[in-house]
């Protein structure tokens, strides 16, 4: 795979009047990477994409593509191609004309265009559909036509703005694999915008988690999931149980927090916050539902929580137990379905155990909205 062209954002600020859409973003995207911006709607991720594609000028800072400052260079002169959220296929053009629009602009002949269109249609597994209108295709087919149209322009960087959000679940999962395959085949940089952490985690080499114009964390999917920097990153990516408390004692990379409801608990301080969290700080401890196990009754300690089961549900691959701590806070526990028999605990008190390395401690902060 060729190295590809990288994209760098340096101290990027974007303001709309008084509103700050992007606040001091610094991102290095390596050439040939599949890079995702993950965040809830309105967090500024689309704004970043528009700044990269050239529809928006940064208020401050720089957008570099392949090391070149892109200020003052219009979207039609940048080596990027954008796949719009609503795809923006030209409704009056046939599929093959849509795909080869970038060639028409350069003055290619109709026969050249048809030839290229046929190649690309084969690549996206829609052979012989070139003479249809976009309105005659299904959602997934249109999706692929939009990708082919963008690839036909032979961009160095492909930008995708939530392109799968309009598809149904099955198709979305299928297109994830397909997008990843296409990216690996063509070997160019993909920048992908999504609010779906599943998409980001499955496809990306690296992910930037965004909240209200700020990038909280940039890392690969595993790190984001297992070692979040902030309370927001921890609560937005995947499901998580939160325990609030004050830090009582720091012990190397671990710390003990005093919670109101569950007593003292021990957790690992997340990598980025090691050395920063001090005794007396407000902190949040996150434990994933699947990190809990049910301990024998009567055991207690700094990695045990006692809770009353409110209800249970069987999801197929996991068995979910919803519990309530003394204070009324809900904890979700997911036990993998390995063929064992599940007792019905509803109404009973159970003791939950976690391993310290699976509990992450971050400074107290804003949580993602449910």
């Amino acid at each position: 795979m060729s190295a590809g062209v990288g994209v760098d954002l340096e101290n990027l600020w974007i303001r709309f009047g008084d509103f700050v859409a992007v606040r001091d973003a610094n991102v290095n995207i390596n050439g040939g990477d599949f890079f995702s911006f993950l965040g809830p709607s309105g967090c500024g991720k689309t704004t970043i994409l528009r700044a990269v594609s050239g529809f928006l000028d940064p208020s401050e800072g720089k957008v570099l593509i392949g090391g070149n400052d892109m200020r003052g260079i219009g979207p039609n002169k940048r080596p990027t191609a954008l796949i719009f959220q609503n795809l923006a296929l030209f409704p009056l053009m046939k599929v093959w004309e849509n795909i080869t629009f970038s060639m028409e602009i350069k003055g290619a002949s109709a026969s050249q265009r048809r030839k290229r269109a046929d190649e690309l249609l084969d690549m996206i597994a829609l052979p012989g559909q070139g003479d249809k209108l976009p309105s005659e295709l299904s959602g997934g087919q249109r999706q692929r036509v939009a990708i082919a149209r963008a690839l036909c322009a032979e961009p160095d960087v492909l930008l995708l703005d939530e392109p799968l959000s309009a598809l149904d679940l099955k198709l979305r999962q299928h297109m994830r694999t397909e997008l990843r395959e296409i990216q690996q085949r063509v070997g160019i940089t993909f920048i992908y915008i999504t609010h779906d952490q599943g998409e980001a985690l499955t496809m990306s080499d690296n992910i930037a988690v965004m909240r209200a114009g700020v990038i909280d964390q940039i890392a690969d999917g595993k790190t984001i999931y297992n070692d979040p920097n902030t309370a927001f990153a921890a609560s937005f990516v995947g499901e998580n149980n939160v325990f609030r408390g004050k830090i009582k004692q720091v012990m190397g990379n671990e710390a003990m927090i005093a919670t109101n409801r569950s007593g003292d608990l021990v957790a690992r301080i997340s990598t980025a916050n090691q050395g920063k969290l001090k005794e007396g700080d407000d902190a949040m401890m996150f434990v994933r539902p699947e990190a809990f196990t049910i301990a024998p009754d009567g055991t207690a300690g700094d990695h045990f929580v006692t809770a009353r089961v409110t209800h249970e549900e069987f999801e197929g691959n996991v068995f979910n137990i919803f519990t309530e701590c003394e204070g009324g806070k809900e904890i979700k526990v997911s036990l993998p379905n390995l063929g064992q028999s599940f007792e019905d605990h509803t109404g009973q008190n159970i003791t939950l155990e976690y391993e310290t390395r699976n509990a992450v401690l971050v400074p107290a902060g804003e949580l993602a909205a449910e």
Binding site: P75, A81, E136
Partner: protein, 421 residues
């Protein structure tokens, strides 16, 4: 019971409504084929095509049509261009200014055409003088002034039509084109213009029709280039002939033709689209090339019927000679007139006899003796006069024998009366 009453009322209402709407047009069209010199449907005289012939020999009407077409074309170009620019501006302008801008742009529609006409004339006259140009410059040319004057408000109509379409336009399409390397001009030409094409076509038709029928504004600006409406208005002042009905009929027929053509085209596109949706890829090549043109396309059928009817009518018109019929009608009218003269004469005769009898009864009055003979002489002579309304001198011969009455027939013919006027 109640339901059927409602249904009947709706039908009655519809019939009345369409009579009100189309009745005048139908009657006007029919009068174009009546040989009567005044445009009327009853009494029906003869089927004739002479009014069409007269229409096409009337230089003023022809010249008016020519001017109207030139001005219409100019107005279409100017109005659609200005309307499109205004519509683009309106959709892209800062939202706070939008309402104000909209009001300003729409204002010309609300201003009376007369005011627009006068102001156009005055404004361009000032400009013309400021530039030191003479009365024969382009700026004071009737065609230029009329196009400019009409466009001031027709452009607003066009803008309304175009804005409606433009609001459905997804700006992302332009952005996608730019993103794929197109310049702004290319994006406009290849993406936005094709999208706007149907609206531009409707705006152009609207602009042309508005220009063609405009009178208020044009009446101040036409200068030496009177349009058709101006010519018609001037003609009506001196009385109208059925050749104007003939013109109206041609316009109605053209309108119906183009409406049907448009409908048939739309319907055909619909059918093709439906066929494409059902067809698989392999079928596309063979099946779509020959879509059965008439299947389920009522408008197309009507169109063909219309075309056949036109050919028939034109064919008949060239072959048909109403001369005999017109002669018959003339003869019939003459006979009718004669009959009425006879009747009148009879009445007079009876009155005279009555009076004579009365006088005879009164007896030996000497002075009244010659009177009866005089009365009888004048009675015959004045009868045709009262009928025809001619002056006394024309039929002064007091002793004209009754058999000569036939000679006056021409004078009583309604046709000759009309031409006298």
């Amino acid at each position: 019971m109640n339901n059927s009453f409602l249904r009947i009322s709706i039908w009655v209402y519809l019939v009345i409504f369409f009579l009100y709407l189309l009745g005048p047009l139908v009657i006007m069209s029919v009068t174009a084929f009546n040989s009567s010199a005044f445009p009327r449907m009853t009494p029906w005289e003869c089927l004739t095509f002479q009014w069409f012939g007269e229409l096409f020999q009337d230089q003023r009407i022809l010249n008016g049509i020519k001017n109207s077409l030139i001005i219409g074309a100019g107005t279409v170009v100017l109005s659609v261009a200005m309307g499109l620019a205004g519509a683009l501006m309106l959709t892209q302008i800062w939202p706070k200014l939008r309402a104000t801008y909209y009001t300003i742009i729409i204002a010309p529609i609300l201003i009376p055409g007369v005011v627009l006409g006068i102001s156009t004339l005055v404004f361009w006259d000032r400009i013309n003088r400021m530039l030191g140009l003479g009365a024969d410059s382009v700026l004071s040319n009737g065609i230029f002034l009329t196009v400019i004057g009409q466009s001031t408000f027709i452009a607003s109509y066009c803008m309304l039509v175009l804005v409606a379409r433009l609001q459905r336009y997804d700006v992302a399409l332009t952005e996608a084109a730019l993103d794929l390397g197109a310049t702004h001009a290319q994006a406009f030409r290849k993406i936005l213009l094709p999208f706007m094409r149907p609206a531009i076509a409707s705006a152009a038709v609207l602009a042309f029709l508005a220009s063609f029928e405009n009178y208020n504004t044009t009446t101040f600006t036409f200068g030496e280039y009177p349009t058709l409406t101006i010519e018609l208005a001037q003609k009506v002042r001196y009385g109208i002939t059925p050749s104007i009905s003939a013109l109206a009929f041609i316009i109605v027929a053209l309108t119906v033709f183009f409406a049907l053509l448009n409908e048939a085209k739309l319907k055909r596109q619909e059918l093709v689209a439906a066929a494409r949706k059902q067809a698989t890829v392999e079928e596309l090549a063979g099946k779509i090339k020959l879509p059965s043109f008439f299947a389920g396309n009522m408008a197309a059928v009507l169109l063909v019927v219309f075309a056949v009817a036109t050919i028939t009518v034109v064919g008949t018109a060239t072959a048909y000679n109403p001369g005999q019929c017109i002669a018959n009608v003339k003869e019939q009218k003459r006979l009718e007139a004669e009959q009425r003269i006879q009747e009148l004469r009879k009445q007079r005769e009876e009155q005279r006899k009555k009076r004579e009898a009365e006088e005879a009864e009164q007896g030996g009055d000497q002075q009244s003796a010659p009177k009866p003979s005089n009365n009888s002489g004048f009675g015959n002579v004045f009868a045709p006069n009262t009928l025809g309304g001619d002056t006394e001198e024309e039929s002064s011969g007091p002793e004209t024998p009754p058999s000569n009455n036939g000679g006056f027939g021409g004078a009583f013919d309604p046709n000759s009366l009309q031409t006298d006027q």
